[in-house]
Symmetry: C2
């Protein structure tokens, strides 16, 4: 049977070249005290310092600059209330094209403001998945804009893979990379990049136990819904997509589940010891190590800090989880 | 009249060489959105990423490794409840010597734990300046330990000056450096280093208006007491010392005062925009720029982020100031 088409390491390399003029090459930080706690040698890829404060700008920029001039002239559209919407708006402004963002009417004001500050044009809809999709469809019909899905898109997956590419350029001797999984865009890109660059490297995903759709999808082979989405790791509430599921199912070495209080504890350790701000979703991989659910003693471990966009006014409640 | 002896740029260079094997060379961060807010080009020296989480390890390490073997064998003592006590304990552990720390009996548990984790030996005293001094004197009499004052010490001043030395190596074209002032160790070291390395550079100090002793000391020429110390910038509550006052009075270009809510607002901007954790004292220089009290439009500005040791459980109250 023919393999379904999917991004390759060449697509990731092309993405890296395409986005280089716009995004940061983010630094790798280390922390001796966290190494001691985990008895491992950890290298943290700090996309919390990335443009827009998150890795999402990688995929969004790759997607926007992959369009033909004719496509670009008609604009792009997405339905996302998170980091992807702001990232797509910024990437669109770099190319000078219109970005349409469909958001539920109850989206936080701070996220609306981020989109608008980059020039994105918001259309509100009812807070249901069906309403989001139909509103986006109407915009596409009216404008001819190209849909850029937050994660279930090969251009997005290749773009997110550039983080692992950079990490392995800076730290070629890693034994394992640990990455959070939500919709699977970052994880898919990481798998494609890491497994091609370094056969034998392991890639382990970590997921909040409350939204364990990826864990269940590995077993069932289909996209499993999440019955609850009340995790402090608010970037990981989505389920896998049609394009990310097969990549992850074939290539991921393991998926580990962590509890809410373990995520909060890991977030506190990062703030206190590393003196950097990450969002709760980015604390999920370290939570697996610190809780003992994932034992990587003696190994060289890459950990992806995906973003730093946390509402400071909610931080006390998050840390008290 | 002969000049009183004081550290020179040669002492700062010697300190840099002495401490290099032990401390981090901390990075310089930039932030385009804060540049836009201040209409200046800002370079932030990130000593929040320094060992012990603060620049204090620079002076402490220089002092400890400046001792003769005979002196070192008798240990060192300090009376400080802040970053200096932990830093001296760590520096002492590197040299393998005894560190005695005199702390008021009501010192926060977290600060006691930091000192102990590095092997420092705590002696508690009544929470008065007189009790601290007499308790330290007793330890010196009993052990022959060398007193290492938190800031009023030439070895400490030269050590703290290494931050400005590194900053000007990385950013030689700075027009001005803005630094917080508490006891004046960091400011004195910065003045000595910067004015020697780059004649014509300006060095501006910023102080919380509630503890404006340095501002008043510039006018009176003597050490002025602070009548209140209730500032969120808890690292800047101390007054200038006999050794720091004359250096600052001769060399500083200006001292600017900022209000508590301006410090809190600057701290929030750093957390939200730069995604790094700094302590409130380190937000004081930026507060002067963001509030408009210090206008450095169009200039290349170095700002010293001195430390990142903030109690996360107190952060909401601090940010709400």
């Amino acid at each position: 049977m023919p393999q379904p088409p999917r991004p390759t390491i060449d697509d990731v390399r092309a993405a890296a070249e395409r986005i280089a003029p716009y995004v940061h090459r983010t630094p790798v930080h280390t922390c001796r005290s966290i190494d001691a706690m985990t008895r491992a040698s950890l290298a943290f890829k700090c996309d919390n310092f990335q443009k827009c404060g998150a890795f999402k700008i990688r995929g969004a920029t790759n997607a926007v600059f992959s369009l033909t001039d004719e496509e670009a002239a008609r604009g792009v559209v997405t339905h996302s209330s998170g980091n992807h919407a702001a990232a797509l708006s910024l990437a669109g402004s770099w190319r000078g094209i219109q970005v349409y963002v469909v958001m539920p009417s109850d989206a936080p004001a701070i996220k609306q403001a981020a989109v608008r500050s980059y020039g994105g044009q918001i259309t509100f809809c009812e807070p249901t998945l069906a309403a989001r999709q139909s509103t986006a469809d109407q915009i596409i019909e009216r404008t001819g804009a190209t849909l850029i899905h937050p994660y279930d898109d090969h251009r997005i997956i290749a773009g997110q893979g550039t983080a692992a590419l950079e990490l392995l350029e800076d730290r070629p001797n890693l034994d394992v990379i640990v990455t959070p999984v939500g919709g699977g865009g970052l994880l898919s890109g990481t798998l494609i990049a890491a497994k091609a660059l370094k056969p034998g490297i392991r890639v382990i995903a970590v997921e909040p136990a409350r939204v364990d759709d990826a864990y269940r999808s590995m077993q069932s082979g289909r996209i499993e819904p999440n019955e609850r989405i009340d995790t402090i790791a608010d970037g990981l509430r989505t389920t896998l997509g049609e394009k990310t599921l097969p990549i992850i199912r074939e290539l991921v070495d393991d998926i580990v589940l962590v509890d809410e209080h373990e995520i909060a504890a890991a977030l506190r350790v990062v703030l206190e010891r590393m003196k950097i701000v990450i969002e709760p979703s980015s604390a999920v991989p370290l939570a697996a190590l610190l809780s003992g659910k994932l034992d990587l003693s003696g190994q060289r471990v890459g950990i992806h800090f995906g973003g730093g966009n946390v509402d400071l006014d909610k931080l006390p409640a998050i840390l008290a989880t």
